[in-house]
């Protein structure tokens, strides 16, 4: 990976994705405006964007939430708090390439 783009909520993220291509998306769930669940739902309805792997990062570690996000198409789920290596491992598994 060579760079990182930031958005403060799902609406901003979709706007950025309309102009920029990314290899992966890290998204929280609790965000103002458009939360992570709605963002993922909208992303998966877009023919071009739906293939981008999404990893959810959230404080919510309840089974039903994790199952729901994975069912919506998230490729990974990391619960906060996490150690940096946990995120790296999840990204490497998701992308299939080493992350430096």
């Amino acid at each position: 990976m060579t760079g990182c783009l930031e958005a403060s909520n799902g609406i901003e993220a979709l706007q950025i994705l309309g102009k920029e291509w990314v290899d992966a998306i890290l998204s929280d769930i609790n965000m103002p405006g458009m939360d992570g669940e709605e963002f993922l739902r909208q992303l998966k309805t877009d023919e071009l964007l739906r293939a981008i792997p999404v990893v959810i990062i959230s404080t919510d570690s309840t089974d039903h939430r994790i199952e729901r996000m994975l069912a919506l198409g998230a490729r990974g789920y990391v619960t906060k708090p996490f150690r940096p290596e946990t995120l790296r491992e999840t990204l490497e598994r998701t992308l299939g390439v080493p992350c430096e």
Binding site: N30, P32, T59, S61, T62, H64, K80, P81, F82, R83
Partner: protein, 152 residues
């Protein structure tokens, strides 16, 4: 969940969050006298609903923010320090709720800086304090009943 159980969960979650995401270890020493402080409040909805409040001494807040952002303390703005404290409160709150909520999905409200919080004065709030190298953190977690409906 009883109040002592809730205080245990609050302590475990706080220390895990501080250590894993903010690289801060709690000390066993006495708490310093209150100095200039930052206060953050996070409302939450679900089963149960309520609020978490976090009060942190200003020097500790700046030090934690610097570690979290990987920056020198002297280059951080007050806004950056406040945003990191909001994130700290948000993560602790979500971590606690993941362990105390029922099967209902919970929702965290926006963390916000405030000049004081009623949560610290609630007789039902679970409290946990942490002594740090350069200050202290006090966290109060107050559960309200009945169950709050989740907003749209």
């Amino acid at each position: 969940m009883s109040e002592p159980q809730l205080e245990t969960v609050l302590a475990q979650c706080t220390e895990a969050v501080l250590e894993q995401m903010f690289f801060v270890r709690a000390l066993n020493g006495p708490l310093p006298a209150p100095d200039s402080v930052l206060i953050v409040e996070v409302p939450f909805e679900g089963d149960p609903c309520g609020r978490l409040a976090l009060r942190v001494t200003a020097p500790a807040a700046r030090s934690i923010a610097a570690d979290f952002l990987g920056e020198e303390e002297c280059v951080l703005s007050e806004q950056q320090v406040g945003e990191v404290m909001c994130e700290l409160a948000n993560i602790i709150c979500g971590s606690v709720l993941s362990r105390v909520e029922s099967d209902t999905t919970f929702r965290l409200g926006s963390s916000r800086l405030t000049s004081d919080s009623e949560v610290f004065h609630s007789e039902n709030a679970a409290l946990h304090s942490v002594a740090l190298d350069n200050g202290a953190i006090l966290i109060a977690f107050d559960v309200e009943r009945p169950v709050c409906p989740l907003g749209g």
